[in-house]
């Protein structure tokens, strides 16, 4: 069996893996490898044939494959090695990565730095315990998207969508364009989990009703799904007796959340943030495992691929610096807390500044709010704030904070609260397409 050595290896060749590899190369890593299990690079972008990607990154509206293509070309030109049709079986401390592929068999790579960029998977029916029978025709929106867009088959004619995640909304439009009757989208929360733009363009433009505070309480059908029973839910998300109604369908698509695919790290002592499901990292996207970095949806689920690329650039650069021995070793970190109104913050901890004047934080709000103010608290003082016309859990809050604002503070946290004065009424800025 052959052994290989690289400076930086990214596990996964989707948007995060490609951006991390490119930035590692830029930062001076000589030997960079992307290991991708599919037969082409691009990851989930390849099945996202709708447009709207890349407004921030390329200042242009691209399709998913279009966005991926730009990166694939850059990867080719940068002299980065790519192993396709290769699955990573383990990534062990010390940078020992074991992969398998049909034509090359088992390959072991040693590397100075690894970037986790495996993306995420969809939450399933089992995870949310929808009762009823277990017929065919109940599938995740992403699996349906792959079948329709890449394989050329349709999961059904009369479709109901559970959950208002972005993939579900995109698939509502996609199935409508295929000629299917998309009868409704049911969301258990009192607000949508998708980007506003998707609600408008994928549901409203197609007259597809979105029922908030509704939950599927039973799936019917012995062989193939024949329908569902739906009920309104109370404030504790429990079905309200007497509100049940039935709806016929031959396809039930689930868009009920995404889970970072961290099984490689969980096999070791990777510290996981229970809220994000991803690793706990510092501003370099450095995990608690020496030489392992993380970026993209394996770190936390993003709304826009542009943010994934930017985050991965940080991780890739850090991985290269680590490989070159230029990333300072740190044992003491300051933690960054998610305060009132904030569900999580990434990075979750800070090591001493590494030459850059600012540090970028990604955050999600716990609930939708109108005009709001996001504040950074350092040792009890508000040292930074920004106003937002609207805040939603589905849309990432991004904050670039100058180091000088943080200073030497020990207690660092972000909060979001309604803005003290009602600002002028104006529409939310249009968000770009979700990944």
């Amino acid at each position: 069996m052959h052994e290989f050595h690289y400076d930086v290896v990214t596990i996964g060749g989707g948007p995060a893996g490609m951006a991390a590899a490119l930035s590692a190369k830029d930062a001076g890593a000589k030997q960079v490898l992307i290991i991708e299990r599919d037969r082409e690079l691009g990851g989930i972008l390849q099945q996202c044939i709708h447009n709207g990607f890349g407004l921030r990154r390329f200042d242009k509206e691209l399709t998913g494959p279009g966005y991926a293509h730009r990166y694939i070309e850059m990867v080719k030109q940068a002299g980065i090695d790519v192993w396709l049709d290769s699955t990573v079986l383990s990534a062990d401390p010390g940078g020992i990565i074991t992969s398998v592929s049909p034509d090359k068999g088992m390959r072991v790579v040693t590397c100075a730095a690894t970037v986790y960029s495996m993306g995420c998977r969809e939450r399933t029916r089992g995870a949310i315990r929808i009762p009823g029978s277990r017929p065919a025709g109940v599938l995740t929106a992403g699996a349906a998207q792959r079948m329709v867009n890449m394989e050329g088959y349709s999961p059904g004619r009369n479709v109901v969508i559970v959950g208002s995640g972005d993939i579900g909304l995109i698939m509502a439009r996609r199935m409508s364009l295929e000629g299917a009757h998309v009868k409704a989208v049911f969301e258990i929360m009192p607000y949508s989990n998708g980007l506003n733009r998707n609600i408008v363009q994928c549901l409203e433009d197609f007259d597809i009703p979105l029922h908030l505070s509704h939950s599927v309480v039973a799936v019917h059908g012995e062989d193939h799904v024949t329908g569902i029973t739906v009920a309104k839910v109370d404030a504790k998300l429990n079905p309200i007796a007497g509100t049940e109604f039935d709806m016929d369908c031959d396809c039930l698509l689930l868009s009920v959340g995404l889970i970072p695919e961290n099984e490689l790290g969980r096999a070791h002592a990777l510290e996981i943030d229970p809220v994000t499901g991803g690793a706990v990292v510092d501003q370099f996207r450095r995990t608690n495992m020496s030489g392992f970095f993380a970026a993209g949806n394996v770190l936390h689920v993003h709304d826009l691929v542009d943010w994934v690329s930017q985050e991965a650039e940080i991780a890739g650069r850090s991985a290269a610096l680590h490989a070159l021995g230029k990333l300072p070793k740190v044992n003491v970190f300051r933690s960054v807390a998610a305060g009132d109104g904030i569900r999580y913050v990434v990075p979750q901890k800070l090591s001493p500044p590494g030459g850059r004047p600012t540090v970028r934080f990604f955050m999600r709000a716990t609930q939708p709010m109108g005009a709001s103010v996001v504040q950074l608290h350092a040792d009890g003082q508000i040292v930074w704030e920004s106003n937002h016309p609207v805040v939603k859990p589905s849309e990432m809050i991004v904050a670039d904070i100058p180091w000088k604002k943080i200073g030497a503070a020990r207690e660092i946290s972000f909060t979001v609260a309604p803005a003290p004065e009602e600002p002028e009424s104006r529409d939310a800025p249009q968000a770009e397409e979700a990944l």
């Binding site: 069996m1 299990r37 049709d85 699955t87 079986l89 074991t98 398998v100 592929s101 049909p102 034509d103 090359k104 068999g105 088992m106 072991v108 998977r121 969809e122 399933t124 029916r125 089992g126 995870a127 315990r129 009762p131 009823g132 277990r134 017929p135 065919a136 025709g137 599938l139 995740t140 992403g142 699996a143 792959r146 079948m147 329709v148 890449m150 394989e151 050329g152 088959y153 349709s154 999961p155 059904g156 004619r157 009369n158 199935m175 409508s176 295929e178 000629g179 299917a180 009757h181 009868k183 197609f206 007259d207 597809i208 309480v217 039973a218 012995e222 062989d223 193939h224 079905p239 099984e263």
Partner: protein, 497 residues
């Protein structure tokens, strides 16, 4: 659907017809294949292990539950012993994890002592009563409020589908035939003796019929004019957890049993998952496999009395199985009404454990009823071992992939299942024809993403290997289509009335 014409599939005559391709029917067919007999198993579903055998606890029970002298007691203890050899021969992974019946108070401790004495009467050795400290040292995640337990070191776990497929495959290797998608519609009886079985694929003449039809065994008996028992379906629901939380319990943990059932258990599976369940609800419909909100609440609260911190966020699926209840005991033996008919009916827990012993007993009854049992000189008790990528060393994997590159392509990333294993499962005797057939044989789609990633890929592999269109591949039953051609997507319903 995916096979040759009906006449090619169903022989016109057989020495023995076994009705039902569950673990019991397949074990009986395998036992019969030791003899020079033509044996045909009729299964109305597209695969074996589609009834009670696909949804149960997967436990080889120690054998202290059943009343001494019952079929359940005798066949449980005998069956558990037979599995020691059978599991090696047939390739049924078996883990001897031991079982615990835990007590919450002094009354329940007294019940445990009764169970221990009953176990001794049933022929068991090694049962021990544990105090709280011993229990918590063995199972640190159990409730500290428990006061003691009955430890049965011989209890083991197996995968119930694997067991059924293994019996079926070995039966086929030894000359038996298994005809799927073949529903029994009647039994011809002349002068109070069975003469033929009528099916959806035609008539098959036979003098001996084994009724192993699970929840439908009452109907099968009636077809032959035998109303000596009836089946009450009793549903049990389960929640299965990912193997990332597989260390929740080491052993099978039962609460102290009640009259109705063994209670809600928390148990490991042979593949490293953990499940909770089952509850017990009597139902009207023999095919009512629906899980319920009430049922989930019942099993979750039941399991929490034993393991207070359940990792509910790591649940990967829920399902329901149906016990075929004919009374307190199994219905085993010759029909009291119709000659040539032998019942292996009313098989509920510990049916999986008892299956090989039931098979021995049924063959004895058939011999008593006049069936000539001449040993089959070509009988081989062993199934060839098929490679399991996940269990292999790196060197073994390298050699396997060099010989067949399909073993180098991971299709199911949650369970690390390769394309080579999926193809082998389709091509094997009693091979997979459906998505669930692949899932139950090699576990592709059994993991935390529940086929979200591998589903489209497995569909394509099945279509390729069977030479059918992707749109013909089903989930499990004949009507469980998965995909339409895109041209057929258009809904007949008005678009957004």
């Amino acid at each position: 659907m995916l096979e040759a014409s009906a006449s090619d599939r169903l022989p016109t005559q057989a020495d023995v017809v076994v009705i039902g391709g569950g673990v019991v029917g397949c074990a009986i067919a395998r036992e019969l294949s030791r003899y020079r007999l033509s044996v045909v198993v009729l299964e109305r579903a597209p695969d074996v292990a589609m009834g009670t055998s696909k949804a149960n606890s997967g436990i080889l029970h120690a054998g202290f539950d059943a009343e001494p002298g019952t079929w359940k007691a005798r066949l449980n203890v005998r069956g558990a012993r037979l599995y020691r050899e059978i599991s090696e021969d047939l390739g049924i992974p078996r883990r001897r994890v031991g079982s615990l019946v835990v007590a919450q108070d002094a009354d329940q401790l007294a019940t445990l002592e009764e169970l221990r004495l009953r176990g001794i009467e049933n022929g068991l050795t090694g049962l021990a009563l544990w105090g709280r400290d011993e229990l918590l040292a063995h199972e640190p995640n159990l409730s500290p409020e428990l006061v003691g337990a009955l430890w049965a070191p011989m209890a083991a776990i197996v995968c119930p589908f694997t067991a059924t497929f293994a019996f079926a495959e070995n039966a086929i290797r030894n000359g038996a035939r298994i005809v799927t998608e073949c529903a029994v519609t009647g039994i011809e009886v002349v002068d109070n003796r069975v003469t033929a079985v009528k099916t959806s694929l035609g008539r098959i003449a036979t003098s001996y019929v084994v009724n192993a039809a699970g929840v439908h065994s009452g109907e099968v008996a009636l077809m032959a004019g035998d109303d000596s028992f009836t089946i009450t379906p009793r549903r049990g629901e389960y929640v299965l957890f990912d193997h990332s939380v597989g260390d929740l319990v080491r052993s099978v943990v039962f609460p102290t049993p009640t009259k109705l059932s063994k209670g809600i258990l928390v148990a490991p599976t042979v593949h490293g998952n953990v499940f909770i369940g089952p509850n017990a609800s009597d139902i009207e419909d023999l095919e009512d496999h629906e899980t319920t909100r009430h049922g989930f609440a019942e099993i979750i609260s039941g399991a929490r009395r034993v393991v207070p911190n359940l990792p509910l966020g790591n649940a990967i699926t829920e399902f329901a199985g149906i016990r075929a209840v004919a009374g307190k005991d199994f219905v085993i033996g010759l029909s009291p009404v119709t000659g040539g008919l032998v019942h292996a009916a009313g098989i509920q827990s510990p049916g999986l454990t008892a299956a090989p012993a039931i098979a021995e007993t049924i063959v004895e009854y058939l011999g008593e009823a006049g069936l000539k049992l001449v040993p089959n000189p070509a009988f081989t008790p062993i199934n060839p071992v098929r490679p399991k990528f996940v269990d292999m060393s790196i060197g073994e994997r390298a050699r396997l992939i060099a010989a067949d590159p399909l073993y180098g392509r991971i299709i199911c990333r949650c369970e690390s299942i390769t394309e080579g294993e999926i193809v082998a499962a389709i091509q094997a005797p009693c091979g997979a024809r459906t998505m669930d057939g692949v899932k139950r044989r090699v576990r592709a789609g059994m993991g935390r993403c529940q086929g979200g990633f591998c589903g489209p890929r497995v569909t394509a592999i099945i279509a390729r290997e069977l030479g059918v269109a992707v749109t013909e591949v089903c989930k499990d039953s004949a009507g469980s289509w998965l995909y339409l051609p895109r041209s057929e997507t258009v809904s007949a319903e008005p678009n957004h009335a």
